[in-house]
Amino acid sequence: MKPIFERGPSLPLRLFLAVLCSVGLMTLDRFTDSSTQLRSYLTATVSPLYYLANLPQAMLSDASEQFMSHQRLLEQNQKLRETLLRQNTQMQRLQFLQQENDKLRSLLGSVPVADSKRLVAEVLAVYSHPFSNQIVINKGSNDGVVAQQPLIDDLGVLGQIVSVGPTSSRALLISDTTHAISLRVERNGDHVVAEGLGQSDEVRLMHIPHSADIQQGDKLITSGLDGIFPEGYPVAEVVRISRNAQQPFLQVYARPYAQLDRIRYVLLVWPKAKPEIDEQIAPPDAEASAVAGDF
């Protein structure tokens, strides 16, 4: 019988080399900061595969649009026009309120909340594994996407960009186990931090003292304190509180408003200007003094 491997190193030696390489990679990726750049390059290299993988779905949705009847298109068009009209009307009111709000804020001496640039992106790949909840979108550094940029949709906050390639980038969802987001309870302004659990329909609020005023159905919005997410976007609703006095903290669970397991289009948000990010962090200090007792 021929030996299994005529040339090259023996099987255990190969395994040893592979183990050595992967342990090195893991250490590099998990315990140092240098991997962000490396990941961006790698994402850029493999992005054709995402486009390839997305091809069947894109073709199917194209075909279904092709065969959509004229009548249905007209109906849809009509409906969209109505929605647009309604929303434009609301928009006018909103602009007025925004101006008023800015004026009031300037009277109070605090910085107006910055409006931001937006861009719609399509989801190329969803990876909702129990161990990592990430999506890949079809916009990259060519469109001005940068790391740590917030991602929202019409229902609420989705997550943030973690690595950017030229034509695609990868975002971490708020439900990922490695993600946490700074929030505020809309009802009373209490500040909380929500961490992902790896499930698309639940996040957990960390370190809530037993005396905290939090109820089922409370709406949680972004606080803007983390310097990444703009202030005031809806994120989740408190669904479950278990008050066990033996635990050091309350066990509070919330359900994200965004449907994280069926994302198709996302909205990328840019802060208006770079320096304002720092200022956005600063003003809540004054407001926070009112709720400082909660921490």
């Binding site: 299994i4 491997f5 005529e6 099987l11 255990p12 190969r14 395994l15 080399l17 592979a18 183990v19 390489c21 992967s22 342990v23 090195g24 990679l25 893991m26 590099l28 990726d29 998990r30 991997s35 490396l38 990941r39 790698l42 994402t43 290299t45 493999v46 595969l49 995402y50 390839l52 993988a53 997305n54 069947p56 779905q57 989801v123 190329l124 790949a125 969803v126 990876y127 909702s128 594994h129 129990p130 161990f131 990592s132 990430q134 890949v136 990868r170 186990t177 490695t178 659990l197 790896g198 698309s200 397991d261 069926r262």
Partner: protein, 160 residues
Amino acid sequence: MEKSHRLYLVYLSLMFSLVLAVVPLPAMVKLFRPDWPLLVLFYWALALPFRVSIGTAFVVGFLLDVLVGTVLGVNALAYSVIIYFCSAHHLKIRNFSILQQSLVIALFLAFYHYFIFWLSHFLTGVVFTMAYLWPVVTGAAVWPWIFWLLRRIRRQFKIH
């Protein structure tokens, strides 16, 4: 020389399996997605142990890490270890019936998922759910078809 082996077809099939691993699927179906790259690697490691072995497994695992966004090296390590056992026992596994092979594959897949869980638990702190083991069942179920398909390709194009 490379041409006469037609090894590019092996790499093409591996590439295709990687694409299948990231094809967007509805949330309900996604839980049951078999580990295509690992299954295709199994076949080539059994059929051509001289050509496809730990090195290839490492590269494919690394690409999967990049594609799905796990901590770099997790899948690379798991693939290398599993293909090591597969290569070391390829003569035995080859002689099994297709049903027995499926069982062995299921065992390997279960080991793979346990291994990935253990590594992820250590690196990022995740919790275990039983739903996570569905790909073991579906992987074992699709093995006979993968085996049949890849054997046809191998014989048709005389890859050796």
